[in-house]
Each structure stands twice: as C-alpha cells, then as structure tokens.
C-alpha cells in the first residue's frame, strides 16, 4: 500500500505540470520581465537600456510628485476602509445576530451587488452624482444648495465608487467573524451591569478585532490596487499608483518608470494580503 502510494504520488506531479507550466508562462515570466524592466533605464519611448540600475526606485522616493501619488493612494485606501467599517460593522452585527426571514434576502442582495459587472456599477453613479444628477437635483429642490456639487471626476467620486465595490466584502467578512462570537458573552456583560455601549466596547470589539483587522487589510489592498473604478469615476484627474502605472504604459511610454511603480504596488499588495491571511488563520485557530 505504502509503496503504491509513492508511485501514485509521482504520477500526480504530472497532473500538476500543465497548470504550473501555464502559470509560469502567463504569470511568472511576465512578472520577471517587469522586474527586469524596472531595473533598467529608459532609452526612448517604449525602449529600455541594457545597463542595470536602481535609479527608477531611488528616483521614485526622491521625487515629491511620486511621493504625492503614493500618499494620495494610501490616503484613498484609508478613507475607503474607514467608510466601509463604519457602515459594515452595524450591518454585519445585525445580520449575524438575527434569524429573521429577510436575512437570506439581505445577504443575497449584498452578494448580488458584488457580482454585477464593476464597469456597469460605475456607470450607474453618473446619473446619481453628476452635476444634473439625482443627488444634486434633490439637494437643490430642497434648497440646501444653489450650485451643484461636483461628485464625479474627482477624489469624492473615486471614494464613493470604491466603498460601493468593497462594502459587500467588508460586510460578509465581518458577518462571518461576529457569528462566531457567542451571544452569551455579550449577555453576560449586560447582566453584570455593563451598558450596551460598554458591552460593545469591552466585549464585542476586542473579540471581533482580528476580523476587523483582516477585513480592513483586504479592503485597503483592493482599494489601492483598483484601476477600473478610479479610472472611470476619477476621470483621470485622481492620480493614484494604478492610474500612474497605466499612463506610463499607455501614453507616456516610460516603461521603466511604470514598471518600478507597478513592482512597488505588487510588493505592497502581496505583503498586506499575506498579513491579512496570517491574522485570519490565527483567528480561526483560537476559535
């Protein structure tokens, strides 16, 4: 039996080979090529020199223009995470603690909104947020404002679009985490005389912290790596890392600059994702 297993085990490696080879060609090689480009100078539009250099990276961190892009990207991720947390926590708490009939419907609608094409969802914000759109129409009708507020083609538009894209993910992550916390713990705190807010602050929040942290890291990573939503709702005026990278490859044709920014984005996203996975794994070990 044992000998047969080893023989079969070797056979299994051949079953893995097509996938490994495919991923090596469509993913491994291109990423290596991108790293190679990021370590060489620019020899003209869409051309790179043969000389090895680290200048692209040192230039990045010495240029205030680039540091502004980096800062704007981090700030965007931070704002999106905060907005998502503020809305998602109460929603997830309610969904985790109720057994009402509408619970499944609510979960279905939340998942469904996640699965409708992101381009289409972005498109839907124009008639809502545009200068002659729904929100401005409502606000001017009531008389709160007299001139329309600009909410698309700027930072606000990108934040709204990204919160819309990430909110379902945050809600679903937090619902799973809160469900695992026994309601009895909260009741015990209340019975021992804690006010609702105190019970939340001293029992629920610490217990759901791993979920909050891993959900936030996930949403932050997805927000700083997003391209489609910032490109459509930012109208190319919100220069963040992803937009900068795309511009270098599509219009500016400075491949080394684009490649080094892309690699920095890749490394950041990978580190954050691994951290989130580690926190989540440790959280489920404790349960």
């Amino acid at each position: 039996m044992a000998a047969g297993k080893v023989g079969r085990g070797d056979m299994w490696f051949w079953a893995l080979l097509p996938s490994l080879a495919t991923l090596f060609i469509v993913f491994g090689l291109p990423i290596v090529d991108l790293i190679y480009t990021s370590l060489h100078g620019m020899a003209g539009p869409a051309q790179i020199t043969d000389r090895f250099t680290l200048e692209n990276y040192s230039d990045f961190f010495n240029d205030t223009f680039m540091l502004n892009i980096l800062g704007r990207t981090v700030w965007l991720g931070f704002v999106v995470v905060c907005c998502c947390l503020l809305v998602a926590y109460p929603v997830a708490y309610l969904l985790a603690r109720t057994s009402a009939k509408w619970r499944d419907l609510a979960l279905f609608l939340i998942t469904a909104s996640l699965l409708v094409s992101s381009v289409v969802r972005n498109l839907g914000w124009f008639p809502i947020l545009g200068e002659s759109g729904l929100v401005n129409w409502l606000l001017t009708s009531i008389g709160i404002i007299h001139t329309p507020i600009r909410m698309v083609g700027n930072f606000t538009g990108v934040v709204i679009g990204l919160v819309h894209a990430q909110l379902p993910i945050m809600i679903l992550t937090l619902t799973t985490v809160i469900q695992r916390i026994e309601p009895e713990l909260e009741e015990a705190a209340r019975n021992l005389g804690a006010a609702p807010l105190e019970a939340f602050w001293r029992v629920m929040l610490p217990l759901s912290l791993p979920g909050i942290v891993s959900g936030s890291l996930l949403v932050f990573t997805l927000s700083i790596s997003a391209f489609t939503t910032p490109a459509i709702l930012g109208g190319n005026s919100v220069l963040i890392m992803a937009i900068y990278v795309a511009q270098q490859f599509r219009t500016v044709l400075d491949y080394p600059a684009g490649a080094s920014a892309a690699i920095l984005l890749l490394v950041t996203a990978a580190i954050l994702t691994l951290t989130a996975m580690r926190i989540r794994a440790r959280g489920s070990e404790h349960q």
């Binding site: 991923l23 090689l29 699965l115 839907g124 008639p127 996203a269």
Partner: protein, 268 residues
C-alpha cells in the same frame, strides 16, 4: 429595542446604497433627455434600438474570452488541484502557494507585465499575442486557474475518501471510480470555481485593456470603459442594462442551484 431600529435603518440605507447604481443604470437607459441627468425628462426605448454594432461584437468577444478561459482553467486546474491534495511529492505546499500567488497581485500589474512580455515575445519571434483574443484568454488564466484550483482544494477538504475505497472494493477500476465517484462529488466545487472564473473574466478591465484592443479583441467592459471616457451616449446605458438583466438571471439561477455559498466557496 431602539438599538435594533437604528441597526435596521443602517442596513436598509446600506442596501439602497448598494443597489442604487444598478437600478439607476436601468432607469437611465430609458431616459429620453440628457443621459446624465436624473430623474429622466421623459421615457423612451430608442437607446435600445440604437445600440451600436461594436457593442454586440464586444459582447460576443467577452463571451468567447470568458468561456475559453474558464474552460481551460477547469481542464488543467482540476487535475492540478487533485495533485496538490493527493500527491506525495516534495515541495507540495510551496507549489500550492505558487499556484495561488497570482491572486495576490493587482490585475493592473499583471496586465502591464503581460503587455510588456508580449512585446518582448514579438521582438524575438514575430508572433503577435498582445491585442488578440488569444492574448486576453491567456491573461485571464492568471486568475481563472487559481480560482478553480482554490475552489477544488476547498471542496476536497470535505471529501470522504472512504467512498472511493468502497467503489474500488466493489470492483470498480480506478478510472471508473474517478468518473463515477470523484468527479460527481467534486462537481459543486468545480462549478463554483468555473462560475467565479467566468464572472471575473466578464468583469475584468485592466488585463483585457492591455492584452486586447486589436481587431475583434475588445471585450464589453473595455468597450464601455472607452465609451465612458470619449462618448457617453444613451446606448451605453442600454447595453449596461442588458448586462444587469443577464447578471441577475445568472446570479439567481446559481443561487437556486448551489445556494448562496457557491461564490463563498470560491472566495475563501
């Protein structure tokens, strides 16, 4: 119970926020006045008659790309996932992480990397991959394949190997056991991975933008994205509404067939 009322109010507000753009796209597609103004001045169905042929072509390209990448992902991804679960070769955990690693990389980065690599490949061989349908399919394998592998590995964790042993004890050949026991048991996981690969392919802009763009190689999301930037007319809203209707039908069907954790299975 006022706390509960506040929570319910937040939930309803969140649902309205989540569904608003989807509903608005559909209403705006019947807007007879300026496309971007809301509420509509008057209603019309003219945009549906005026959908440009490039959009129909783009829908066709998207369907081909999504079907092609999802099918290929299943064909080579399922054996790979089984190998990662059952094989006894060295470095299995490392290979497993390697197979899933593309999911950690922003698709924009994968897109520009592929684009650049296709230029280098063209330099050396004279073969064009960038800007073709085949190029987009290759690009979408970077997430389709890991999605399928991850879903099948997750499904395999709940797999009861005793069922296979029973079949073999009853005289079934290994191939017959595989066909009649293994595959049917793993079918929901495979379907979930394939559905996720298909949906993400139909949703993707960055990879299709960098790898496509040539003749007959513009996917629907890229076409809509281009139109939003240069020429946003009512027919774009009409196309988008059609996409919403189709997505809702597909989502409802999947929900009926496999329950709401169909996509969770793939996402965990």
């Amino acid at each position: 119970m006022t706390n509960r009322h506040i929570l319910t109010a937040i939930l309803i507000a969140a649902l309205i926020f989540l569904l608003a753009p989807i509903v608005v796209v559909m209403v705006a597609s019947f807007n007879g006045g300026a496309v971007m103004s809301f509420p509509p001045a008057f209603l019309t169905t003219r945009w549906y008659h005026e959908i440009k042929p490039i959009f129909y072509q783009a829908i066709w390209v998207s369907l081909l790309v999504a079907t092609g990448s999802a099918t290929f992902s299943v064909l080579i991804g399922v054996p790979a996932a089984l190998a990662l679960c059952r094989g006894r070769f060295p470095g299995r955990d490392l290979l497993s992480s390697l197979c899933l690693s593309p999911l950690m990389v922003p698709t924009l980065v994968t897109g520009v990397a592929l684009y650049q690599c296709s230029l280098v490949f063209w330099d050396f061989t004279g073969i064009t991959i960038g800007g073709t349908l085949f190029g987009i399919i290759l690009g979408h394998l970077t997430f389709g394949l890991p999605f399928v592998i991850r879903a099948v590995i997750a499904g395999h964790a709940r797999f009861d190997r005793a069922l296979e042993e029973a079949a073999q004890n009853l005289g079934a050949s290994p191939l017959k056991t595989f066909r009649l026991i293994t595959i049917p048991i793993l079918r929901p996981s495979i379907a979930s991975g394939a559905a996720f690969a298909f949906t993400m392919s139909f949703d993707d802009v960055p990879i299709a933008l960098f790898m496509g763009g040539g003749d007959g190689a513009t996917t629907l999301p890229v076409q809509i994205y281009t139109n939003v930037q240069y020429d946003l007319s009512g027919d774009v809203m009409a196309v988008a509404s059609l996409v919403v209707v189709v997505s809702l039908v597909v989502i409802t069907l999947l929900n009926r067939l496999a329950g709401s954790d169909l996509f969770f299975g793939a996402k965990q």
